[in-house]
């Protein structure tokens, strides 16, 4: 493959606003070291990969937001649990707990 051709791909990647330097470095390295002859399939691969990366950006942002929402929910649940404990402590200040729902068998 000609150097000029590779340069087209590399310039294109450099111009894209991709926030994944690791994957970008993989693909640029791959382009620089490619010495095959199947130019058409190579071009398809590069464009397919770049399109995938491009789509990944939006999905990644949404996933991050979803994780953050889960975290907020977890924090809220923890506060509710603390509130339950506080209620139990307030109503049963004795050293042992107030109730037991153990399904034990007694002699």
């Amino acid at each position: 493959m000609k150097k000029e051709e590779k340069k087209i791909y590399l310039d294109l990647i450099q111009n894209l606003k991709l926030n994944n330097p690791v994957l970008v470095s993989y693909i640029t390295n791959f382009i620089e070291t490619y010495d095959g002859t199947n130019d058409k399939e190579f071009t398809m691969l590069i464009f397919g990969f770049l399109n995938l990366l491009n789509s990944h950006e939006e999905v990644s942002v949404r996933a991050k937001g979803f994780d953050k929402l889960l975290e907020i929910r977890k924090d809220f649940d923890k506060k509710l649990e603390d509130m339950e404990d506080e209620f139990e402590e307030e109503m049963n200040p004795m050293p042992a707990a107030a109730s037991s729902d153990v399904e034990e068998t007694t002699q």
Binding site: G65, F76, E86, F87, A97
Partner: protein
Amino acid sequence: MTNTAELPSRDELVEKVGPPLHQEISRTYQVSKNEGEAFKTGAEMLKAVLQERGSDGKLYDQKQFTKLHEGNFQRGIDILQPETDSSGRYPPQMFYIPVYKRGFLGRKEETDEAMVGIKLNNDVNNPDKNTVLMYQVKHKNGVISANSAKKFLVSTEDAVTKGMQEGKGRGKWFRGELTVEQYNNKYAKKDSKYWASERRIRKLEIDPVEEAGRREEVLKRLEGYYVEQLAEYDKKTAAEIKKSAAEAEQAKLTGIENQRKLIVGLTDLLKTGVIQRVAAERMIKELGLEGVVDVDKLIAQAETQAQSQDGAVKVEIDTRRDELEAENKELKSKLQKEITEGRKREQDLERQHKEQQENYEKQAKEWQDQLQKTQDLMKAIESRLAEQEKRAKEREAEIAKAMKDKDEELAAQKGAAIKFATLALDLKNQLNELEKKSAQNGGVGGNVNPPEGKVIEGQFRDITEATPVEVPPPLSQLA
């Protein structure tokens, strides 16, 4: 009729079909006719396990039972890692959790009860199917027996671990925590005057209406807290959704922009002939821009760019040439300016050098004059010092001479004194001789005693016995 002798033993069954599954054990427990029967089954299982492990029921023996307490509840029974025996099976593992009570001033003390757990290890890879038998037992100095079991429960490793970590509901039982009722009935009444007093106060002084009021008060307070937390949760969630939406929108816009750039790249590839129409169509399809981007237009655009490229290159060369000429002119002008400035700087430097040289010469002359003056002064000082030295030597000679004269004078005086003393001694001796002779002559005509002979004798004695004259040392020595 079944011959019991032909029935396989428990060990043989285990060997043949493996340990009983949790489902089987649980099912047996659930279909027991009544609680008493279920409990009996549980006690028998405890007995069987103790026998199989060769345990004598010593809770405090770490080789038999692992102690779990508040400090390691978070790890739960995970700390009991299953180990294979010589036959490759996973034998049951036993642990216990002390049951605590509050002693005087709320101090924590172990009671004579404990929660004993037996992890059967019938499915070590699936904690939710690994059976754990839990017993509440009574012990005496840490020793239990199968008959000491009070309560019994069939559970799983998963459930027990979760119960220990959470400590709620059934978990309290797994953690060995007593209910208020259990505590009051077993310990508060007889073991702790403090808590007995508390209990009495609670029983006698708090009426149900007041208790209900307190409950309402607590609930109201917690409700306020809940509303606050809920509002905060809503606020945080809304903010995060807004933020995520904005970021996603931005990412979407970036994605669209990137797709445009990919199309530009595609055009470049078409233009340079790297790809053909079919490949371009496939790529547009891959990019999801089918119907949005027209391949024909793209090819036409690429061809237009390629055709206009020659003309563009010519224009570019002309432009570049003009730019180079302008740069050249500017460089020449700059160079001329620098040469002029360089000459001027050179003249300035020469003038400065000359002035500096003059200054150096003037300074050197001043230093020479100063040196001459200093040398003259030194000569004068040397001359004066020589004269002073000469005078000092003369004075020294005079003093030495005077000292010598004085020494001689003193020596003469000393010699005279010695001579005089010698003469006095001789005279005394002579007089003594004369007295002796006069005495021998018997006084005939020999009244030679002088009338004031004593006086004379006394005078001689005074002279001979006088303190010798101290002769001062010569002046030369004093000097």
